[in-house]
């Protein structure tokens, strides 16, 4: 049989209209974000004094209009979107790595170690982590790398729980027994046997943390704790737009619609992806 879990899941996924539409919109958004800025002569941080708070339109080069400082909103929105996508990717990888290592060790070693490690996760999960991220950014200054790390550090908790559950069930498989019998050490078994076998389902769950992380970044930037001026982020653009809603509503429109589309599509696609794999394991 050539039908393995992956190809079956892929077929099930692509048969779903919600998954197809959201994937299509996501691909279009990524393409627009990557090549879009080159289609427009403006740059994200240059000021155009002849177009201050200009209306959107195609008569001039500022398609989405400009803000109070004459900065082009089309280019700034896409620059902000690049930040969101980078943060989403980097912080997801950070939380995926942390969650994989932590969960695999807790689940495979088991016993007391497992109890202590998972109790720690439980305690952290019970705290309002957003307050701690706010504290961290205040204490250690507004540093972008720190932003990535602190956001990633919030996202790993759920992943660690999922990985642990998977590792617990793998622990009793015959091939692990065989590895122990042939004298492999714990570290070797975790890296060579446990991790490769949990990574598939875990990556599926990780796709659902990407929108959460993008959301957290724009939330922090909205509060003024994330990306700083003159650089753009969807959060700072929305904050700016919300402040000038009555006089210049277009400032809000582009970043607001972009973030909404991105988050909805990522969530829909992640949900469908999980469903496709869940149905696969049930059979």
């Amino acid at each position: 049989m050539t039908d393995n879990l992956w190809s079956m899941a892929r077929r099930r996924l692509l048969a779903n209209p919600g998954a197809r539409i959201s994937l299509g919109i996501l691909v279009a958004l990524v393409a627009l974000t990557v090549i879009g800025p080159w289609l427009n002569p403006n740059r994200a941080e240059t000021l155009d004094w002849s177009f201050i708070a200009a209306d959107p339109g195609i008569a001039h080069a500022h398609w989405f209009g400009t803000d109070r400082l004459g900065r082009d909103l089309y280019v700034r929105t896409l620059a902000g979107a690049r930040v969101s996508m980078t943060v989403g990717l980097v912080a997801s990888i950070v939380s995926l790595t942390l969650g994989l290592m932590y969960g695999a060790i807790a689940g495979y070693v088991g016993g007391r170690t497992d109890d202590v490690m998972m109790r720690f996760v439980e305690i952290l999960g019970g705290l309002p982590l957003i307050f701690f991220v706010i504290f961290l950014t205040v204490v250690f200054g507004r540093n972008e790398y720190l932003l990535f790390v602190s956001i990633g550090a919030v996202g790993w908790l759920t992943l660690a729980r999922i990985v642990r559950g998977q590792a617990l069930s793998i622990r009793r498989q015959e091939y692990i027994e065989a590895a122990i019998a042939s004298g492999a050490g714990t570290a070797r078994i975790i890296c060579k046997h446990v991790l490769p076998n949990v990574i598939g389902p875990v990556i599926v769950y990780a796709t659902l943390t990407v929108p959460q992380i993008i959301l957290l970044e724009s939330f922090l930037s909205f509060l003024g704790l994330g990306i700083q001026e003159p650089r753009a982020s969807l959060g700072t653009l929305i904050a700016q737009g919300a402040g000038e809603m009555e006089a210049a509503p277009w400032i809000l429109l582009a970043p607001g619609v972009y973030l909404t589309l991105l988050l909805v599509c990522l969530n829909v696609f992640g949900d469908r992806l999980r469903d496709a794999f869940d149905a696969g394991t049930r059979r």
């Binding site: 019970g126 705290l127 309002p128 957003i130 307050f131 706010i134 504290f135 961290l136 205040v138 204490v139 200054g141 929108p211 959301l215 724009s218 939330f219 909205f222 509060l223 003024g224 704790l225 929305i238 737009g241 919300a242 809603m245 009555e246 509503p249 809000l252 429109l253 607001g256 619609v257 973030l259 909404t260 988050l263 909805v264 990522l266 969530n267 829909v268 949900d271």
Partner: protein, 308 residues
């Protein structure tokens, strides 16, 4: 039952103590101080200010002093809002925050359970798909995006509601903020209710209830909904957390004089006592919610009651 509750209450106090201690240390490690922005203060005046607020003492003495006044219910003076104590500041803002927060929580629960039940009863039919599609959007889009977009549509283009501002007693000004805070938890509750009700409706005791000839609404209200609401009860504390974090931004967008702004502003201004007061306020609310959830579990699921 009562013993279990008292045990949990006893566990809450060390948690609160740890949170206060950690926050105290973190905000003190932060570079800068509360009097930094008042430019070119003569050193003598700065020294006087610092000694007036007790900042010249060793850190552990300040810490024990703070804990001692806390135990008398005194949160100390604000460092930034001169002539105000933290208790006064929170006391002024809290009614507004609590009003929109509690309204949002109640709306999210009632409408969410209603929508989720409707979707489960119309499983795999248009009503179900509509509710679920709206729920995905509600979960995905946060309140700080919903509120400005709604304000743009209903406030600026259609001119139905005020976009921002606050007048004592005016409900019209609170509609948009409450809606923005309600939507994310509402969507979550709807999804949880639907999934868990679908699961419960498969169980044998529901089949028995139907085969005894009970009408649909009796089966749902008297038998199915109670066990189906267990996961929803578990979501209560996260729902409150989501409404509280949402209110941080919603109040600032809508220009409401609540307490939401004090956390971030206080942290940025190094207004030590104000930040700690806010952290304690939020932690007490969240821990209290956790206790309430435990009681709800026991009420919804009798097995919990007999286990302890």
């Amino acid at each position: 039952m009562l013993r279990y509750f008292i045990k949990r209450l006893g566990g809450a106090i060390p948690t609160l103590f740890i949170i206060v201690t950690l926050s105290f240390l973190l905000i003190r490690i932060a570079p800068g101080g509360p009097f930094d922005q008042e430019k070119s203060l003569p050193p003598e005046i700065l020294a006087n200010l610092r000694s007036a607020y007790g900042l010249d003492q060793p850190l552990w003495q300040q810490y024990t002093h703070y804990l001692r006044s806390l135990s008398h219910g005194d949160f100390g003076p604000s460092f930034r809002y001169k002539d105000f104590t933290v208790t006064e500041l929170i006391g002024q803002g809290l009614p507004v925050t609590a009003e929109i927060g509690i309204a949002a929580l109640i709306l999210a629960l009632t409408l969410g359970i209603l929508a989720g039940t409707l979707a489960a009863l119309r499983h795999d039919r248009p009503a179900d798909y509509t509710v679920m599609a709206l729920a995905v959007a509600g979960i995905a889009v946060p309140s700080f995006v919903v509120l400005p977009l709604l304000g743009l549509l209903l406030g600026i283009y259609l001119r139905w509601l005020p976009v921002a501002g606050w007048e004592p007693g005016s409900i019209r000004h609170l509609i948009l903020p409450i809606v923005a805070l309600t939507l994310p938890p509402l969507a979550y509750v709807a999804r949880l209710t639907r999934a868990s009700l679908l699961d419960v409706l498969q169980r044998p005791f529901i089949r028995t209830a139907f085969s005894m000839g009970l009408p649909l609404h009796t089966v749902i209200l008297r038998h199915a909904l109670r066990p189906a609401l267990v996961p929803v009860a578990g979501y209560l504390a996260p729902a409150v957390a989501s409404i509280m974090t949402g209110s941080l931004v919603v109040e600032s967008i809508a220009g409401l004089p609540g307490v939401g702004r004090y956390l971030v502003q206080g942290a940025l201004n190094r207004d030590y006592t104000l930040v700690l007061g806010m952290v304690i306020l939020y932690s007490v609310v969240l821990i209290g919610m956790g206790l309430l959830v435990d009681l709800l579990y026991a009420w919804l699921d009798p097995r919990v009651r007999f286990e302890r």
